[in-house]
């Protein structure tokens, strides 16, 4: 079992939809589990990635914790993969980029309809928001990209089986979708 490929996954500024799509591998997960073991991932609850072969990153970078997590993954994964629209171009969370951060916070925590006890959260435990949501390739080097919102289970399967069988991963036309 020591030779299993080690895979870590995480979601930064994402919705876990890509992870849900990964779980759509269904029975193929059993076959996959024969070949890989999961390190840091919502599947295992391991908190820090270490000595991994493949890191799958969902979501863009919206706060300081995302930056730390992303750098930890880059440091600990031989191959780092941007998974889904948000990791690749910021996606839906990046649509806040057109509104100044202060206005976003005011709307959510001070001026929004139905807000009780209005105050902008501020605590050392809370990661600071970045002024803009950025795609992950602007922060660390990314080796592969799996587009889609989310990428289908077939995309994960094709990509991982290509890698595991020593082929250069390739996505056919039908597997490439940005929506």
């Amino acid at each position: 079992m020591a030779n299993k490929i080690r895979v870590a996954t995480t979601s930064l500024a994402g919705c876990f939809g890509c992870h849900m799509s990964f779980l759509d591998l269904d029975e193929r997960l059993v076959a996959l589990a024969e070949l890989v073991e999961f390190d840091r991932s919502p599947i295992t609850d391991i908190e820090h990635a270490s000595n991994c072969d493949i890191g799958l990153i969902e979501g863009g970078v919206c706060n300081s914790e995302n930056v730390h997590t992303l750098r930890e993954f880059r440091k600990n994964c031989k191959i780092l993969v941007a998974v889904g629209a948000c990791a690749i171009n910021g996606g839906l969370p990046a649509m806040r980029n057109f509104i100044p951060l202060e206005e976003c916070l005011n709307e959510a925590y001070l001026d929004g309809i139905g807000v009780e006890n209005p105050q902008i959260p501020s605590d050392v435990e809370l990661p600071l928001l970045l002024d803009k949501v950025r795609p992950i390739h602007e922060v660390v080097k990314i080796d592969y990209y799996l587009p889609g919102c989310p990428p289908s289970a077939d995309v994960f399967w094709k990509f991982l089986t290509d890698l595991l069988e020593g082929r250069e991963p390739e996505l056919d036309y039908e597997l490439v979708h940005y929506d």
Partner: protein, 272 residues
């Protein structure tokens, strides 16, 4: 005797006055393009159709075919250049495909799929651009405009109007409309104008039609843009819809595609 050029090593015929794009299309060879449209004066601005003619890069849509040309089109170098150009188009605007109703019918997206573009490569600009929803039937989302000028040309050359123009330079370039207020509603654009249908991206959209065909069943969801483009002699695939609408079927088209339950509800309201 037929005049010929060499395209990727194959001899293809051309007629005097034809561009390389026209000769290639007639010979069944796809050259990727976005600002080119067979019905309108070529503009040569998107540069996706860049080919190598006797060792020099030229825009196939504007460059005249001439005897003795050795043209390279489908090479790794040119494909890589085209992918980079497409990535630049993506990062210079705001192209969030999952939230765009043109997704699947979008030529920008389809060209990117065709080039197997999986990422944006460059840092994103996230430029601040407006949406003009003032017109009752047509929407402009400037976030998605790639300045191909097809709406400008369609309005002038086909519709006999002058609704659109491009203003500004470089990063400040933007689409403007011909009204004192600057709003689309104050122009003489009609939803059946070709200018309202010719946009290769989701920048100009007809309202209330966006989801008549579900995502996953759209033009480029299963078929590549090269096949679709050649099958329609290089013309624009969404023109099938336009021709249909020109024949006066636009309202039928909308009525038929409306879910039956809604139609029933609407009739009941009229009944009251």
């Amino acid at each position: 005797m037929t005049k010929t050029i060499t395209l990727d090593g194959k001899t293809i015929p051309f007629e005097d006055g034809q561009t390389i794009m026209q000769a290639a299309t007639a010979a069944g060879v796809y050259i990727p393009h976005l600002c080119h449209h067979p019905e309108f004066t070529p503009h040569g601005s998107c540069k996706l159709c860049t080919v190598k003619v006797n060792g020099r890069n030229c825009s196939a849509c504007t460059f005249p075919a001439a005897e003795g040309q050795d043209v390279l089109n489908n090479t790794k170098e040119l494909t890589d250049d085209r992918k980079k150009i497409t990535q630049m188009l993506f990062v210079e605007g705001n192209h969030f495909c999952p939230s765009c109703e043109k997704s699947g019918n979008c030529q920008l997206q389809a060209v990117a799929y065709h080039l197997n573009m999986l990422d944006d490569h460059f840092p994103l600009f996230y430029p601040h651009r407006e949406v003009d929803a003032s017109h009752p039937d047509v929407l402009i989302d400037h976030n998605r405009c790639i300045f191909c000028t097809l709406c400008v040309r369609a309005s002038r050359e086909h519709d006999g109007k002058d609704v659109f123009a491009i203003a500004g330079r470089g990063i400040n370039k933007h689409l403007i409309v011909n009204s004192i207020s600057g709003h689309l509603k104050d122009t003489n654009l009609d939803k059946n104008d070709q200018a309202a249908h010719v946009c290769p991206t989701g920048a100009i959209l007809i309202k209330r039609t966006g989801y008549q065909v579900p995502i996953g069943q759209r033009l480029y969801d299963h078929q590549q843009i090269d096949e679709i483009s050649l099958a329609s002699s290089g013309s624009r695939p969404d023109e099938a819809l336009l021709t249909f609408m020109d024949e006066g079927n636009a309202d039928d088209c909308r009525e038929q595609s409306r879910p039956p339950s809604l139609a029933v509800v609407s009739e009941q309201h009229h009944g009251e």
